[in-house]
Symmetry: none
Subunit: 200 residues, 4 copies
DNA sequence: CGCTAAACGAGACGGTACGTCGAGTCTTACT
DNA sequence: AGTAAGACTCGACGTACCGTCTCGTTTAGCG
């Protein structure tokens, strides 16, 4: 496995160009028109591939959407790494919100739509996008606890959802802004808690 | 308003039975099969109404989904009213999560799907469901601030989204539970904040 | 009948204006767009009458079409009355062809379409339009036989259909013209027969 | 043409079985219920084909009706070929009338209905059915003129319409019979003309 | 170098749902 | 009772995608 070249049977190998064209077309369609414009038929037409070819490699719309999304998004928005965990958290939160305000927001909401129908898509999104980012966030949290910036007992999962859930909710329902100021205020609100603090 | 008979023009009045049958069928379909099963054709068939009749009164699937949802849900889950604002908040949060775990969750996620395609549906959901509940929540927050249970300067909108956003996110992505314990912990986390507290 | 007022039961009498408006609208629609544009809905809209009112007085589209047609056409194209029966026949044939080239052709073909679906319409057309004209034609034929212009033994019905059938066929299939010259030639052809004539 | 294999582009070839099933269903429906029963929906259902497939190959009802009609009727009723042109004419006329009395009559009248709405159908009927038969009839006429059975100067088109027009008219309006006797008399009437003949 | 086998394009096919139109029936208020 | 208004059921329209299928063509590795 280590040295062996990928074992391959006979027959024509998969055409990488076609694959990329399909993923690219899928991404573009999602970005341009959201889930409504994202049609296998349209992907085929735009990519120049045959519908058959698409169905050969992706079992359904969700799988294709996810893969086209992940491929582009995977390298984006790495967690910053500064002296202050809290600062890093805020920076990252701002980054996510900025992406969600732009084209990535369209992609994410589309995939979440697809995920409501197709459990496989949901799982793929959670495993391929959400959880890796949460794992990275967890690191920051732990760093913050170690440094004393964050309190020790906090429940990471719920803290994370409180921060990100607000952003996801606003992405989907647009009842509130996703600007830097709003996100900073969100971070402060959750960091400080809702209860009054005794004067130090 | 009190004495005036509802002014009505000529023509056969709208058949209330049909309207209710349609709304009922729409609700049932959404509950049973989610957005995938929610088809105008299916609603027509199940309700016994003609497709034309449905299109006469609702411009699209979203409008029908929303109305059927609101009609059923409107009387549910009134905000509790106890001595403690915080306790009320927690109770209400638990209630929402409980609903989301059940059939209402199916409805809400379906409508949010529809809302991603149709802005009118999004607006209807926000105005007809979300905002009224937020307004009620705001009252509780204000009560809490007045009583000293909550700190004075907090941003209500973001606090609210931190609490509810986590629940919505979990409804849609199912990466975390919505049980009473989880929700209680969420409330505690957001109430107490993430920063360490100086010992009193 | 002369002095007596039309005996009438209780209730509001039929509104003659409405009836005329309906017939007029029906006629206009038929003339403008043929059978495709002739819709009860359209008649109602254009005439300002309610669909119910139309259905009260006419059992179906065909009946309305026929009546609106007959009312207008009834007074047209009376058989000429000259010294020569053959000349009268030719004149009349020209007249029919001229009408068929124009708006009446649209009406007649539309009604014949309707007649293929609704036997009542067929009967109404035959009894109300075709047969009266054939009866008038028969008079001419008989005059011609009496005067020696036409031969004695001829079968009136078939002679008539040979003359008019060609015109109806061309109205419907448009494979040949309906100009005066063509019609004259038709008359001559049928009058003279296809067999060679011994020189007088 | 003789040796060349039918050139064919890429893609799955058209399924001949489906095509035939559709044409057959169309024919049967027309025959059974006339134009009223002839619905794309019904054709699809009866043939087992999808509506889409029908629309892929035929632009509208008329085109399908025509093709299903021609395919069946094309091989019927070839012009007879005896010593006497007049006898052949009569035989053929009888044949047409016999067909029109039966199922073909239903088909023809249905197509003529469709033709009143759709010019393409009219043209297809005239070119695909009427004109070929007229061309064959012309041959007979010419033979008759050559043999002296028919007079030399006659206008073929109008003579033809006089003979066939009567039959078409009776098909559509049913105001007269189409039995053998009637048709024979029709032929005699047109052959002999309406004017008295000088004794030979 | 030819054989085998998979990838690929093209596009036909059976379906499901869409949103619209018109037919014909009905229920109501007004005259 | 006649009429306008308009709600209602029903059936068909023509369209868009779905996911599957059957072709002919291409592109590799293996014998």
């Amino acid at each position: 496995m280590s040295t062996a070249v990928e074992a391959r049977g006979p027959g024509r190998p998969r055409c990488e160009g076609t694959k990329q064209a399909i993923l690219r077309a899928a991404y573009d369609l999602l970005e341009e028109g959201g889930i409504a414009a994202f049609t296998i038929e349209a992907v085929a037409q735009r990519s120049g591939a045959a519908k058959t070819t698409i169905y050969r490699w992706w079992p359904n719309k969700g799988a294709l959407a996810i893969e086209s999304f992940l491929q582009v998004v995977e390298k984006q928005n790495p967690f910053p790494q500064s002296a202050s965990a809290i600062a890093d958290l805020k920076t990252q939160l701002r980054g996510v919100a900025r992406l969600f305000r732009g084209r990535v927001g369209q992609l994410v909401s589309s995939i979440m739509v697809e995920a409501q129908t197709d459990p496989e898509t949901r799982r793929a999104f959670v495993d391929g996008y959400l959880n890796p980012r949460r794992a990275a966030a967890r690191k920051v949290f732990e760093r913050g606890i170690a440094s004393g910036e964050l309190r020790a007992g906090l429940d990471f999962d719920l803290a994370c959802d409180a921060l990100y859930g607000a952003i996801y909710m606003r992405l989907l329902l647009r009842h509130g802004g996703l600007g830097d100021a709003a996100v900073d205020l969100l971070a402060e609100t959750v960091l400080d808690g809702l209860r009054p603090r005794p004067a130090p």
